[in-house]
Amino acid sequence: MESIIPLAYLIIFPGFLFLAVYGMFLQWVDRKLCAVMQNRMGPPWFQPFADFIKLLAKEVIVPDAADSAMFRALPYFAMAAVITALVSIPVSGPAALFSYQGDLVAVIYLLTIPTVTFFLAGWSSTSPYSTVGSMRVLTQLFAYEVPLMLSLIGPAILAGSWNISEIAAFFTAHPVLIPSQLLGFLAALIALQVKLERMPFDIPHAKNEIVGGQFTEYSGRLLNFFLLAVDMELVVGAALVNAVFLGGSLGFAGWAGIGVFLGKTLFITFLLALLKVLMARIRIEQMINFCWKYLAPVAMAQVAFDIFLKFKLG
C-alpha cells in the first residue's frame, strides 16, 4: 500500500493523467483565445481530444534512413522528462511532491530534454526539411536557455534557496516583493514562449518555410505523443513561472490550492496567447539577437536588482 500512493501521484495527480488532460485543455484555451482575438470562431472544447484520438488511429511511418529504435523512443523520452519535471513543482499545495535543495536547476535541465529530443527527432529523420528544422531547434536552444535560466535565478537569490517550493513559500510570506520581480517575470514569459516554439518564435517548425520542421517525418502515434509533450510543457512551464514568480498556491491547499493553480496558469496562458497574436514571426538571426541583446540583459538587470534588494533587506 505504501508504494502504491507515490505511483498514484505519478500516474494520476499531479502526474501523467492530470498533465495530459490539463495540457490538452490549455491547448484548447490557447487556440480559442487566439481565435477570439483574431476575430474567428475557434475550435470546440473537445477538439484537442478528438485530434488526439484521431492521430492514435493513424498509421506510423518510419523513414527507411532513420534509426528505427531511436525514432520510436524519442517522443516517450520527451514526455517522461516533462512529467518528471512537474514532480518537483508545487501544484495543489504549498509544497511539491518531491522537493529537494537544487530542484530548480534540475527542473530547468529536465525541461531542456524535450528540446534535445526535438533536435534528435529532426536529425534522425534525415529529410531536408527536418534537418533544417533540427538545426533551428538547437540554435534556438542556445538563444533562450541563458535568459530563461537568468530570469529564474533572480527570485532564487532573493529567497535564498534553490528549492522551488521554498521560493514559492518565500513569496507567499512576502507578497509585497512580487511586483519587484516584474522585469524578470516578463523575461521568463518571453523565454518560455521561445522555449515552447510558439508564435512569433515558432521558427523550428515554421510551416510556410520548412513544412513541419523537426516533426516533418513523424506521423500517427509518435507525432501524437510529441504534440502531447509540447502541451504538457506548456503546463509545466506555466506552473514553474507561477511557483517561482507568483508565489505558487499562495498558501492554499487541497481544492482551493488547485483552484489557485488553475486560475494562475490560465492567466499565464492568456499572456502567452496575447504574445502569439500580436506579432509576425521573426527570422532565426533576429531571434538570437533579440534573446542575447535584449532578453538576457533584462534578466541580468533583474538579478542585479535582486542582489541589491537582498542586501538592503539584510
Binding site: C34, Q38, P128, R136, N208, E209, L278, A280, R281, R283
Partner: protein, 397 residues
C-alpha cells in the same frame, strides 16, 4: 558548412499553386535558386481557338481566379477593336469600376497572404474579414463574388442602380477606415518592419532588365503603370496618383499596394458619382473581320498583355495571354539569392504570384514527338534568327 538543396514545391504550404523552387542552402542562407514552371498548364490558348468569341469570355474569365475581370477586359478590348465597335461610355465606366473593385479585392487578399507568409496570422484574419466587404460589393453589383461575368462583347451585362451605388459607397467608406489602420500598422509594427525591410532587394536596373511589372516594379522606383502610360477604359478622365516607392524591397511592395488601395477607393467613388448616362451595351456581329490586335491592361499584379488574331469566322485563330506573373517570376530568383530561407515564402508572395495564369510556355515538337523547355540561350538565339529574317539584327544587343 555543407550545402543542402531544399525543394520548395510543387507541393508546399507556402505555395497556393503548384510551382517549384530549388533552393541551395548554406546554413540558413540561400546561395542559389532556380524557378521551375509548368505544373499548371491547362491548354487554354488552344481551347480558345475552338470556341466562339462569346464562349471564350467564360474561358478567359477562368484564366485567373483573382484577376478574372482583367483578362476578360483585355480580351474584349481586342475583340471590340477588331470588330470596330463603339462601346458605350457607360459600359466603359462600369468596367473601370469593376477593375478597381477587383484591384481592391486582390490587394487586400495579398495583404493577408503576406501576413500569413511572415507568420502574422492576425493580419491575415483581419484583412480577409475586411475583404468580404468588397466581395459583397461585387456580389451586389454582378451577382458573383469571384467570376463577375460583367463583361460582354460590346458592353456590360448589368446596369448599376442608385441603391447599389449607395451600398458600394457605404462599404468603401468602411474599407478606407480599415486600410488607414493597416497602413499605420505596416509602418509602426516592429516585427513587420523587421521581416520586410531589406528583404528581396530588387534594384531598379535589375527590375528593368528582368522586365518586372506592376507593384513589383513600382516598389523599385519605376513609374510604370499602363493606366497612366497608355490610358484605356476611362482612366484618362480619372484623378489618381501613380504610387512608387524607392526601398526596392518587400516593405516597399507592401507600402505600394496599401497606398494603391487608397487610390482605388478614390477612383471607385469618382466613377460612381460621375456615371455617364446612356446604354450599357451595343450589338456586335458574331463574325469578326480578319486582323491582329494587341492590348495591354494594368491588372492588380501588373501589366497583362493579350494578342488576338481573327480570321473572319466566329472563332479566333490565335489567342496569346502574357500574365503579369510570368514577367515578375524572372526577378524572383534574383531576389531570393543571398537571402534567408525564412524570407523565401515572403519574397515569392511579394510579387503576388498567380501561377495558373502563367503556365503556358511548353514547346512540343509533333514531328519528333518530344517535349522541350527552352532555356534563355536558346530562346535568345531563336529570336535573333527570327528578327534577322525580318531584316533587323539584334546580335549585338
Amino acid at each position: 558548412m555543407s550545402k543542402i538543396t531544399i525543394p520548395l514545391g510543387p507541393q508546399h504550404p507556402a505555395l497556393k499553386e503548384p510551382e517549384n523552387f530549388m533552393l541551395v542552402l548554406e546554413g540558413e542562407q540561400i546561395t542559389g535558386a532556380t524557378v521551375n514552371l509548368g505544373y499548371n498548364h491547362r491548354g487554354m490558348e488552344k481551347a480558345a481557338e475552338n470556341r466562339t468569341y462569346i464562349q471564350n469570355l467564360y474561358l478567359i474569365e477562368r484564366v485567373c481566379g483573382i484577376c478574372s475581370h482583367s483578362h476578360t477586359t483585355t480580351y474584349i478590348t481586342n475583340v471590340e477593336e477588331l470588330a470596330k465597335c463603339e462601346t458605350p461610355k457607360r459600359a466603359l465606366a462600369i468596367r473601370t469600376l469593376f477593375a478597381e473593385l477587383e484591384r481592391v479585392h486582390s490587394h487586400l487578399l495579398w495583404l493577408g497572404v503576406a501576413g500569413y507568409e511572415m507568420g502574422f496570422e492576425t493580419l491575415f484574419m483581419y484583412t480577409w474579414r475586411d475583404r468580404e466587404q468588397v466581395l459583397d460589393c461585387l456580389e451586389m453589383l454582378s451577382g458573383n463574388r469571384v467570376h463577375y461575368s460583367i463583361n460582354t462583347i460590346g458592353g456590360v451585362r448589368r446596369d448599376i442602380s442608385a441603391e447599389q451605388k449607395a451600398g458600394v459607397i457605404k462599404r468603401i467608406d468602411y474599407l478606407i477606415e480599415r486600410t488607414n489602420y493597416y497602413i499605420k500598422l505596416a509602418l509602426e509594427e516592429p516585427t513587420v518592419a523587421a521581416r520586410t525591410a531589406n528583404v528581396g532587394k530588387l534594384p531598379p536596373e535589375v527590375a528593368i532588365e528582368r522586365g518586372a511589372v506592376g507593384p513589383t516594379a513600382r516598389a523599385s522606383g519605376i513609374a510604370r503603370d499602363v493606366r497612366k502610360d497608355e490610358p484605356y477604359l476611362i482612366y484618362n478622365e480619372l484623378d489618381f496618383k501613380l504610387i512608387t516607392h524607392n526601398t526596392n524591397d518587400v516593405f516597399g511592395r507592401l507600402v505600394v499596394r496599401a497606398l494603391e488601395l487608397v487610390e482605388s477607393y478614390k477612383m471607385i467613388k469618382e466613377v460612381l458619382n460621375n456615371l455617364p448616362e446612356g446604354p450599357i451595351a451595343v450589338k456586335v456581329p458574331m463574325r469578326i473581320a480578319p486582323g491582329e490586335c494587341v492590348n495591354h491592361y494594368e491588372a492588380p499584379r501588373g501589366e497583362d498583355i493579350h494578342y488576338l488574331k481573327a480570321n473572319g469566322t466566329d472563332k479566333p485563330e490565335r489567342l496569346k495571354v502574357r500574365a503579369p506573373t510570368l514577367a515578375n517570376l524572372q526577378s524572383v530568383a534574383y531576389m531570393m539569392e543571398g537571402g534567408w530561407l525564412a524570407d523565401v515564402p515572403l519574397v515569392i508572395a511579394a510579387i503576388d504570384p498567380c501561377m495558373s495564369c502563367t503556365d503556358r510556355a511548353v514547346v512540343w515538337d509533333p514531328k519528333k514527338g518530344r517535349k522541350q523547355v527552352y532555356g534563355w540561350e536558346e530562346l535568345r538565339k531563336l529570336s535573333i534568327e527570327q528578327y534577322k529574317r525580318r531584316g533587323v539584327d539584334f546580335t549585338r544587343l
